[in-house]
Each structure stands twice: as C-alpha cells, then as structure tokens.
C-alpha cells in the first residue's frame, strides 16, 4: 500500500521493511542514530541501516553489572536500554554557548554558529520518551528556553520501540513511564515474530512510513502486541514505591541510611551521566593565547562532583552523604515541586552502571522502611 497511514492508527510492515523506513529517513535528510554493539555494550551511535542494529543480541542487567549476550536470533530490539540516552544527542555533553572577539570598545559576543544536526533517533524506549518530555520541561519551560535544545529537539525524528524485554534493573511500570510508548514519538514499533506493528504518532511519521509496504494492523496482531506488553510489564526486574514522594524524602533528610549508602558510593558521577533526565551543567571558558577570541562552553556536570557546590568559604557538600542525598532527593522529591513530574523514568541505568552496585529502588525502600536501616 503506498498511501499515507493515518496518525493514531497502527500499521504493520514485514520485518525486512524496517530497512525501507530507515532509508526513507535518510532520504528525508536525517542522520540515523540507533542502538549498536560497541565496546561490549549496546550503545547509541550513528548507524547506516538495519545491519548496524544489535540484531540477535541482548544484555543482562544487574546492579553494577552489564553483560552482552546472544539473544533470540533475528530479534532486532530484544534488549533493554544501554548506557546511552537521547540527551547525548539533544543536549550534548559539551556545547558552545557563544564566543567573544576583542574590539576597541571591549568585546563582541558572537552567537554560536554550529549547525544543528537532524537526528532520527531509532529505538528509543518509552522511558527515553518520558525522559525527553521531562527535559522539554527543564529546558523549554523555564525562564530562558534553551535555543540549542529547542533546535535539536524540533529537528529530531523519534522512532520509538515498545519494550517487550525489560531488563533486570528496569522499573518503568512503577514510575508509569512504560513499557508502552504512549506519546511523544513519530513512529513506535512493536516487534512481533514476523512483523513490526507501527503506531503512527505524527504526520512526519506517517510520511516516512508511507515509503514502506505497510498495511493496517490486524486485530489479532494488535492483541498479540497488547499481551506481550502486559507480560513485559509484569517482568520488570525492579519495583519502586512512589507513594508519598516528595514528603517521604523531605522528612528523612537526617535518615541514617544516607550515611550507610555514602560508605558504598564512590561519588564517581556515573549515575548522573547515564541518567536520561539529569541536566546539571558547568561552563568552561577558553581563549586563544592572545586573549582576542574566547569561547564559553557548557559541559555536563554532576552533583556528585566536589566542585559542584563550591562557594567562597568552602564546599557546601564536602561529604558523599550529602551529595547522594542531594541527588536522590532531587530526582525523587524536589523534581516534582520544580517540574510537576518525578525526575526518574524507571530505566534502571543508574543501577546497572553504578560501579558499586547501588540501587536507588533499594535505597528508597530502606528510607521508607523506617529510621533504622
């Protein structure tokens, strides 16, 4: 069928037709970014087509542990999220804010002229879409919306995938951010044995899908997809009780558990780097040797870094106890006051990629459990 599928409907395409969808995205001027096997993990990277996707691969996730494993042969998206998230492409780890050039009057401020990449982000999960929606609030709804984020965000095509194989550290069912993609995508795939079901989320998505040999999804296929998602929801490796947040944490800022977790936490900042919603930044100024031209670059930072809280007179959070507490209370409490939404999307990345295996669901449960750990 060559017509355009209506927005809001489900289509079905033969599995090999995913190649045509990706080719249509490239033809439309997008740079493809998707999951791919590199460095012993499934990471996001630029891909040329389906051959670069982790077909037949899966991964084991546990606290402080990630292992790439052969999965179901031919399964294209048979794995849970790796260490990378969309923020790496929409809010990169280093971005020039502006440059200055010395003049007789002082200096001129030159806007950053870096071109804005048009990414098609392939394989985003429901938790990733939820994280993007959260970062939209952070970067676009504040007192000074960020034009760099806006440009990248508006230029991006989001090709999402419904998660049928949650990992051992996943808990999006608890945060109500998955495993089904409910909004914020251009196209959302559900991988069945023989076909991809494709939910059309936008006009742009519909035009891209028109390039593949799609047909309306059958009722039986939709039922299979729904069952698979319901089953996935029941197979989350972790759960998190989100009741009474933020008060639970505000009332327990002196809980002994903070001391206990600080004894294990290395304050390495891995959790904040892999977190799809963490947004804190620093700025770095550089200049040429003569000081004529300078550049001001915004870089990712972390509340776990010692310098993060420095003011004249000292560091406000010299101890890891205070830094871990800051991170967790921001993510699970203050975030709700600030942005009207939990700062955690249940992706489990911070658990998997913590070298000490610290599990925020466990820490929260310990605090909920009472004043004695």
């Amino acid at each position: 069928m060559s017509s355009t599928p209506p927005v809001g409907t489900h289509a079905a395409i033969p599995k090999p037709a995913l190649e045509h969808v990706l080719a249509a995205l490239q033809d439309a001027g997008y740079t493809l970014v998707g999951p791919t096997v590199a460095d012993g993990a499934i990471v996001y990277g630029e891909i040329a087509g389906t051959a670069d996707l982790p077909v037949g691969w899966t991964a084991e996730h546990e606290a402080g542990r990630y292992r790439l494993r052969p999965g179901v042969p031919g399964r294209v998206f048979g794995f849970a999220v790796g260490p990378h998230a969309a923020k790496r492409y929409l809010y990169p780890s280093a971005a020039t804010l502006f440059r200055t050039r010395r003049t007789a009057e002082g200096f001129d401020v030159l806007p950053d002229a870096d071109p804005v990449p048009r990414y098609a982000l392939v394989g985003l999960r429901a938790c990733d879409l939820a994280a993007i929606a959260i970062q939209d609030r952070v970067f676009l709804d504040g007192p000074a919306p960020d034009p760099h984020y806006r440009a990248r965000r508006e230029a991006a095509f989001l090709l999402a995938v419904n998660c049928l194989e949650p990992g051992g550290t996943c808990f999006c069912a608890s945060t109500r951010t998955g495993p089904r993609c409910t909004s914020g995508f251009d196209l959302a795939l559900t991988e069945l044995d023989d076909v991809f079901l494709v939910e059309v989320g936008s006009e742009v998505g519909a035009r891209i899908l028109a390039a593949a040999e799609w047909r309306p999804a059958g009722a039986f296929e939709l039922t299979r997809a729904r069952r698979a998602l319901a089953e996935a929801e029941g197979r989350m490796g972790r759960t998190m009780d989100t009741r009474d947040l933020p008060d639970l944490l505000y009332e327990n800022l002196d809980h002994p558990r903070w001391e206990e977790v600080a004894a294990r936490c290395l304050s390495c900042a891995n959790c904040t780097m892999v977190c799809p919603t963490c947004f804190c930044t620093d700025v770095v100024d550089t200049s040429d040797l003569a000081g004529r031209e300078t550049t001001r670059v915004r870089v990712w930072d972390s509340c776990f870094n010692h310098e993060f809280s420095y003011v004249f007179g000292g560091h406000l959070r010299p101890n890891i106890r205070a830094r871990y507490r800051q991170w967790l209370t921001h993510k699970l409490a203050a975030w709700i006051d600030q942005f009207g939404v939990l700062g955690c999307v249940g992706c489990g990345r911070c658990i998997t990629w913590c070298p000490a295996g610290i599990d925020l669901t466990e820490e929260l449960a310990a605090i909920r459990g009472g004043r004695t750990p």
Binding site: F107, V109, R118, D254, F279, C280, R321, A322, Q338
Partner: protein, 284 residues
C-alpha cells in the same frame, strides 16, 4: 551530516557589553564597581528591584553572580560590591575605569519592599551581606514616610570591614536607626563589640507590625532568625537572601538548588517559612 538551521539569535546566556565607570574601595579586598551598559537602548530599558543580582562576565575568565548594591531608582548606573576571592572577582578587581565587562540580568527575587509598606523593619546585615540590602535602604530613604520604625543592624568582623560607613549619617538623617557592631575591636573603635544577633537583645519589636530582612553568613542569619522568632515575629515576615554556586541564573545549570527551590529563580530572597525545612539540615 544533514543539518537544520542554527539559531541566529544570541544564546540567552550571552552577556551584554558594559563599561566600568567608577571603582570605590570599601574595605580590604572589597570594592564597589559601577557599570554602564554600552547599548543606550538596553541602558534605558534596564530596571531592577532591591535584592536582585546580575551575572558579571569577563571573556576567557568566567562569570559570577553579584548582587546589585545601588539605588534601583537610578538603574542607568549599576553598582556591584565585590569581594575579590575567586578567579572572576580577582579579575574584576584588576579592572580600571573604561574597561569592558559583560553583564546579564537582573535575575532573582527581590526584597518585598512594596508589600512591607506601613510596617516596622529590622534590617540585619553581616559583612558583605549589606550589599544586597543597600538598595532597600535607598528605597526606604526615598519613601521614608511609607514605613514605620526602621532599624538597621550592621555587623562586621573588624571595623575596617564595615561597608558604606560614609553613608550612615545620611541614613540616620532619614530617621533610620543605624547600629554597628564588630566582632573584634581595634584601638580606635569606641562602638559596640559582639556579633550582630546580640543587637537584638535591646529590641522590643511589635511582632504584628515588624518584618526582618537579613543577609550575611548563614550562621549569622541562623541566629538572627532565632532572635526574631523568639520575639514572636512570624516566619512569613522574616526574609533572607541565600547564596549558592550559580552558573546560569535561569534554573537550568542545577547548581543553586535548595530543596525544591532554585535560588537563582525563586530566590535569592525568600521568606523563612519556605527555607525552614532545609535551613538546619547539615550540608544541604
């Protein structure tokens, strides 16, 4: 790589060019720098409220948040009282009149001077904490009839650290009761000795009509608040200005968070009832 058009407008975190027009030494390591925005249109539009701050920028060195310490009724000239303690503030201390500096702002919340009309005010400053309160004093001087009794309690570690001493007589002439104290006297000092909160011992404020405005080291503000609460002044009538590390001033760098509060956007001036849950938490 395929690309979309880059944003043509300057990033909102870009500074505006300004020039230093005057430097006035205030105390050892502290001076007041008066700036003028270079663009006449911007200069005409610029307005601030007492308690707000600017981000001051030097190319290749960096940026820092500094309170405005001048009269908000004269926003064409922007004074910032700065202690040279970090890379940016030390570089500011090396500037000479005519030198360029970047300015963006104003940012943050203000002392609620309009809401406090008709009230008695106790203004308590410690050290350089007097800087963000000076615009309040100027406002009170200009609108003295609109307020009740005004007491200004000023503390410094040593007499040489007292800021704006030359102005105290003018403030007194406007019926503002100025009381100074120092932690350590020198041979020439004939005034009070002791920390600022002690000055509260002599006060008998009417809790129903009094508001407290304070800025200084957190340990000082802690005791000021203790003394104010002991005199039944409600939490909602105690205002303080807090300081945290800031890089953006628009609630995206995440550094100035104080519980749910972004001090750059919701602060730096806050009423004590909003601060209280976190104010006594260690290392918060």
């Amino acid at each position: 790589m395929s690309t979309a058009a880059a944003p043509a407008a300057p990033h909102p975190l870009s500074p505006h060019l300004a020039h230093l027009v005057a430097v006035r030494p205030e105390a050892p390591g502290i001076a007041t720098y008066t700036l003028e925005l270079a663009d006449p249109g911007l200069r005409a539009r610029y307005a601030f409220a007492p308690g707000q701050f600017n981000m001051l920028f030097l190319p290749g060195i960096g940026e820092c948040a500094i309170s405005l310490s001048s009269d908000a009724a004269e926003p064409g000239r922007l004074a910032h009282t700065v202690r040279a303690v970090g890379s940016v503030t030390r570089a500011i201390a090396r500037l000479r009149p005519g030198d360029a500096i970047g300015v963006r702002g104003p940012y943050g919340s203000a002392w609620p001077v309009d809401r406090l009309r008709g009230r008695d005010l106790i203004v308590v400053a410690g050290g350089i904490g007097l800087a963000p309160l000076r615009p309040v004093i100027y406002h009170l001087v200009r609108h003295r009839q609109a307020y009740g009794r005004v007491q200004l309690l000023i503390g410094a570690r040593v007499p040489a650290d007292l800021l704006y001493v030359a102005e105290y007589d003018a403030w007194r002439a406007s019926d503002i009761e100025v009381v100074e104290t120092v932690d350590r006297a020198d041979d020439a000092w004939t005034g009070r000795v002791g920390v600022v909160p002690v000055l509260f011992y002599q006060l008998r404020p009417d809790p129903k009509r009094t508001a407290v405005l304070t800025c200084g080291p957190e340990i000082m503000m802690r005791f000021v608040i203790y003394e104010a609460l002991a005199r039944r002044i409600p939490k909602e009538a105690i205002f303080l200005s807090l300081e945290r590390n800031m890089k953006c001033a628009v609630a995206v760098c995440g550094r100035c968070q104080y519980g749910p509060i972004f001090l750059c956007k919701d602060g730096p001036v806050l009423s004590y009832d909003r601060v209280e849950p976190f104010f006594s938490v260690e290392e918060y």
